[in-house]
Amino acid sequence: MEKILLRNIENPDSADINEYIKAGGYKALLKALEFKPADIVGEVRKSGIRGRGGAGFPTGMKWAFASADPKKPRYILCNADEGEPGTFKDRPILEKNPHLLIEGMIISGYALEAEYGYIYLRGEYPAAKGILNAAVEQAYEKGYLGDNILGKGVRLHLSVHQGAGAYICGEETALIESLEGKRGQPRIKPPFPVNEGFLSKPTVINNVETLANIPYIIEIGADAYAAIGSPDCPGPKLFSVSGHVKRPGVYELPMGVSLRDIIYNHSGGILDDKKLKAVIPGGISTPILPADAIDCPMDFVNMPKHGSMLGSGAVMVFDETVDLVKICYRAIKFFEHESCGKCTPCREGVGWMRAILERISGGSGTAGDIDLLIEVSNNITGKTFCPLGDGAAMTAQNFIKHFRNEFEKKINNGSVKRAA
């Protein structure tokens, strides 16, 4: 497949605006400026693209909601707070192809009649910060940003804001709070950001990868774009593959590619040709799949039918040697550390889960611990303020669902050791 999102990234100077233009960049913007803003919204809607951040919400619909709100000014925010463990798909765009993102944001800004845009970059991407800032500066110099873009009377100002290292700020309302200078915690919805977002004004927040798709949609048209990948969930998708594979990395593949294909074909199979034990297909919050469940099409529509979710497309591969109880403990420890503290079940419950898992993993678990863990996680599920707590609970639930025997073994071994 032709590379769209990762186009030209082998070029060591790919982040430079001249290289980007040489490779055909900013043409989509020129084309877009010929259209009316509403037509672009319509085109994006028609393309069927779903947001690449993890929830898979139809991007065009989000745009249409914001466009329908008369309040001004509107804001376009890029969610570059790529913090889901296992996920590094946006990083090549941010570091190697920043102008694709910027072009996507300019087109989005024009479509939404937004005059201000912000890229909310995760705190742990220091290299990307410098690259993005340089790219934004170049875009201003070339007249792609500013008060009168390419002399067409279109206005967009763009700046890069670096987060301080909080997973929760990837949640869009927490991101807005953080951008406003407040403590990063999710807001009550409704009102949704499309109506009352940044500074209480209509705001569209899109993932880096989503925005990077926009120029291509404009370039080839919605119909051609919709023909790529899965019918209900089209377009190219970036998968960040990590763990026990021969060739870990970021792969650009059509939506709907099978998980097996990603692991065994594109990533070269399991490291040292060991046996596969389990895969987390879309970042740590998505349900773990056992080795025999990897014949599933990787897209937002089909993955739930196969017991998991596409999430961010972060494929984490575990071979037969992996201690999954430890993985589960480590995952929950992450969620505890990142719980913003706003709501009771997540703040207190996830810490409790971590404590139980710490016991089991450390060999001092007792017979009732697995059931207690399930009960505690059930008491979190569906009762939290935002999906973070749910994600933690579901992670543990699915680990136990598929690999309960490993948990039991740990507890039994531990009690045998203690008895001896």
Binding site: P345, W352, K383
Partner: protein, 871 residues
């Protein structure tokens, strides 16, 4: 119409509310912890989860709004289990030290756990540890009890606007901390204490002294610290006040208090309280019986009246006295002693301002509900920081700003710094120039018909251009212009006026300019009132020319009414005001002064002058709760009751009448009772058994207070009550038109001016007796601007001498960049270390008010003790 069904109960609603509100309206209980009436919904504790048909997940009823046809269940198994789960979660890291915790018995977490929680918990790990913090003198923080509901943080930021505290850290390590670290650097309003549902933040003032169920009595009363008159409850155990808490509904404060009201009450148990009448003979006080003291006072007053006439006797009443005290006192002065020489500190500006505006716009023009401020479309503030003088009124201005209402704050107002959209900072005491330019501009924009009497007057105000004003006051023309533009767009603004703008050489011009603004903008007026009953005293006729009910003494029909009622004649010409009395005492024109509770030496400029004047009197009677500097000069001192020890009523700056109730027994006597006793000894029968008898008489004789009873004062008792207000015709004869020169008076070159600072943490000189307030702000200080500090090589914490011709003070230095250059601000609350100790006596003869704007000072940095030794 929206119909929602909760637990089979149909509820009809006019407009959408949250499920929680709808349920409460229908008497259905849903437990909550993070929700609070005074705060926006938060949705954090998850205790109020309910089941909604057609919605897969449980929803928080505090955030979910009802829709038509919605069916809600609050007691299904799923909901009950979820609640139990949330409470189990909340308790895993909660200290559960209820036997030791002061909150036990009124703890929301304890209550909901008892009712909805699981009987046992399954958490086997160690709880979070977080040592209790005693870094602050007033507030103790115990973060092991905190349940992260964030009610305190939301109160502090969204309602109080102090932004002093924040949630810190994440996950179960979350806790609340002041930005300043251990000790709070905040406004000490304590409103966080009101909303904390557990024992995480508590007052140290009553730590471990009682349990909530041991409270023996609750007195529903009003605060005695300023003219807002917040309604509050004094909780009593064993004849001592253990705590002051706000009443959640009613009053003007709606559940809010400030630091003074919440913590300052402890002055009543201060060790210096007087407990017996004292008579001074041969320069020495000795204790006397009540009857001995009264007989002595009656005898001396009788003699002076016989020898020198009633006009040689004068009376001053404190703004902390009740309406009943004020009424009886003015009756005593007029009917018994035959003197109209009666006044109060309300005449340090408040009474004059009110009279001025009423003269133009009619009686009651300043009687506006504070809650109107956030509903106006613009706020203009001048003459003092409302958030310090009248803190809870100040919160209304912050609330307005929070709603996006543009606030213009003229001059040094630290409490509005982050809330005001426009902050013109005139040079010291040059607001007159600024106001003149604003009136000139607005007059052009709005146009004047010139038909009305006052319109004619506005037309005659000499025009002052923006440039001329800028040259004098230093505020850039464009800033004045933008303030004017903002004002001119308003249709319903509020103008908030502090007394500092009136205590000026150009006080009357300022009043005229403000009245012009009011007229041009069609705005409401709010007068800041520094004392709890300034308004009440003016309404009770404690003025040299006014009778109770706002009736002019010189109008014969009014006077007749009172003469008939009292059964004696009242002198027909107005008496002396408070400033004239002091001067008359100096000139030996008055022989006797009767003072009820006012520490004159330190509550007006030039302590030495006032002291000398009082020393020249033949006879000085003093009622007070402490042996103040002024009381020390008296011949007889009668111990008073503090506001918490007596019954009566106050009228606040909105002209709302409210009841003061007795919480504890005191050793003094109500002023009205003592005065009636003396009156009887002088042959004039005053037969009041209770304050109720006094108000009954007021209700009979004062047309404004017609038929008023204490029952009326339990609700919204707003002006004009059931009475007959006086709708004046416009009386403009007295208004003197200022000339252009006086509007554009420049500050003297190279002169450093001293101004009166009104700090948030103190109140008159009384608050020095409050241990709590003194622990927050123990030290007198001088506040200087950055540039001046730089020129004088002064840094924060240095000590410096500030001196005038009248004296000098050694004070510690605070540097505040907002203080206008070439000026220094010193508070008036520290007695002989206060600004009045070194300010010279100056009176505005037109307003008969003190002038505090003309004092030049020299400031000298003091060397540190160590350096001095080295030299």
């Amino acid at each position: 119409m929206i119909t929602v069904t909760i637990n089979r109960k149909k509820i009809n609603l006019e407009k959408p509310v949250t499920i929680l509100k709808a349920a409460r309206m229908a008497g259905i209980e849903i437990p909550t912890l993070c929700n609070h009436e005074m705060l926006e919904p938060f949705g954090g504790c998850r205790l109020c989860l309910v089941e909604i048909e057609k919605m897969p997940r449980l929803q928080t009823s505090c955030t979910q709004y009802v829709t038509d046809g919605m069916v809600v269940w609050t007691e299904t198994e799923k909901v009950v289990e979820a609640r139990k789960a949330m409470l189990e979660f909340l308790l895993i890291n909660h200290a559960l030290d209820c036997p030791y915790c002061d909150k036990a018995g009124e703890c929301d977490l304890q209550d909901v756990t008892a009712k909805y929680g699981p009987a046992t918990g399954r958490f086997a790990e160690g709880k979070r540890r977080h040592p209790e913090s005693f870094d602050d003198p007033i507030i103790v923080r115990n973060m092991e009890r905190c349940i992260s509901c964030t009610r305190c943080v939301r109160m502090c930021s969204k309602v109080q606007g102090a932004y002093a505290i924040s949630m810190v850290n994440r996950s179960s390590k979350t806790f609340v901390e002041p930005f300043s670290g251990g000790r709070y650097d905040c406004e000490y309003c304590g409103n966080c204490l009101t909303v904390c549902p557990v024992g995480a933040i508590m007052s140290r003032m009553h730590r471990h002294t009682y349990r909530p169920w041991q409270i023996e009595k609750e007195a529903d009363t009003v605060c005695s610290f300023c003219g807002v008159g917040c309604s509050m409850v004094l909780q009593v155990r064993g004849n001592s006040i253990v705590r002051a808490v706000p009443r959640e509904t009613g009053g003007s404060n709606k559940g809010l208090l400030c630091n003074r009201g919440r913590f300052g009450y402890d002055y009543v148990v201060s060790s210096g309280r007087l407990d017996s009448p004292m008579i001074k003979r041969d320069g020495k006080f000795r204790r006397a019986s009540w009857s001995e003291a009264f007989t002595y006072i009656a005898g001396r007053l009788k003699k002076i009246k016989e020898d020198s006439g009633g006009n040689s006797i004068a009376g001053i009443v404190s703004g902390r006295c009740t309406n009943e005290d004020g009424y009886v006192f003015q009756k005593f002065m007029r009917a018994v002693l035959g003197s109209n020489n009666i006044d109060s500190v309300a005449s340090f500006g408040y009474a004059q301002a009110q009279r001025f505006f009423e003269g133009i716009f009619g009686q009651g023009v300043t009687a506006n509900s504070m809650r109107g401020i956030p509903n106006s479309d613009g706020v203009f503030v001048v003459g003092g920081d409302p958030t310090a003088v009248n803190p809870v009124l100040g919160l209304q201005i912050r609330a307005a700003a929070g709603k996006g209402v543009p606030v213009t704050a003229v001059g040094y107002m630290p409490g509005l710094k982050i809330f005001a959209a426009n902050r013109p900072m005139p040079k010291p005491f040059t607001e007159t120039a600024l106001l003149s330019a604003m009136v000139t501009e607005l007059r052009n924009i709005k146009g004047i018909s010139g038909k009305g009497l006052f319109d004619k007057l506005i037309k005659d105000i000499p025009p002052v251009s923006l440039g001329e004003a800028e040259e004098v006051c230093g505020v850039p023309s464009k800033d004045i212009r933008s303030a004017v533009d903002a004002l001119s767009r308003m249709t319903n603004p509020s103008i908030v006026i502090g007394m500092d703008i009136i205590r000026r050489t150009e006080g009357q011009a300022n009043l005229l300019l403000l009245a012009a603004l009011v007229s041009l903008l069609n705005s409401r007026i709010y007068l800041l009132s520094e004392l709890p009953n300034e308004q009440g005293l003016t309404d009770m006729g404690c003025l040299p020319d006014m009778l109770p009910g706002g009736r002019h003494l010189t109008v014969e029909s009014f006077r007749r009414r009172y003469e008939e009622f009292f059964g004696v004649d009242i002198p027909s010409s107005p008496g002396m005001g408070i400033m004239e009395m002091i001067e008359a005492a100096h000139d030996k024109k008055i022989k006797a002064l009767y003072v009820m509770g006012e520490d004159l030496v330190y509550s007006m400029p030039d302590s030495a002058y006032v002291k000398a004047a009082l020393s020249k009197l033949d006879f000085l009677v003093m009622h007070d709760i402490f042996m103040t500097e002024t009381a020390g000069l008296a011949d007889v001192v009668i111990p008073s009751l503090s506001w918490s020890e007596k019954e009566g009523s106050y009228t606040n700056l909105e002209r709302r009448m409210q009841i003061v109730r007795k919480a504890v027994e005191g050793k003094g006597m109500e002023e009205w009772r003592a005065v009636s006793e003396i009156s009887r000894l002088l042959g004039f029968n005053m037969d009041y058994k209770s304050s109720g008898d006094v108000i009954a008489e007021i209700a009979k004789v004062s047309p404004l207070h017609k038929d008023i009873t204490y029952e009326d004062m339990t609700g919204e008792c707003m002006w004009p009550y059931k009475g007959e207000p006086l709708r004046h015709g416009i009386s403009l004869e007295d208004i003197e038109m200022p000339d252009k020169g006086s509007l554009l008076k420049r500050p003297e070159k190279d002169r450093i001016y001293i101004g009166v600072d009104k700090p948030l943490f103190h109140f008159e000189t009384l608050s020095r007796n409050s241990e709590a307030l003194s622990s927050i702000a123990p030290e007198p200080y001088m506040n200087v601007g950055k540039a001046l500090a730089g020129r004088l090589f002064l840094a924060e914490g240095d000590s410096a001498n500030v001196s005038t011709a009248a004296g000098s003070l050694k004070l510690s230095v605070r540097v505040d960049p907002d203080i206008p250059d070439n000026s220094v601000m010193v508070p008036d609350n520290f007695g002989d270390k206060g600004v009045y100790a070194i300010m010279q006596w100056k009176v505005n003869s037109a307003l008969k008010a003190p002038v505090t704007d003309a004092e030049g000072v020299t400031i000298k940095k003091m060397k540190h003790a160590a350096e001095e030794v080295a030299v």
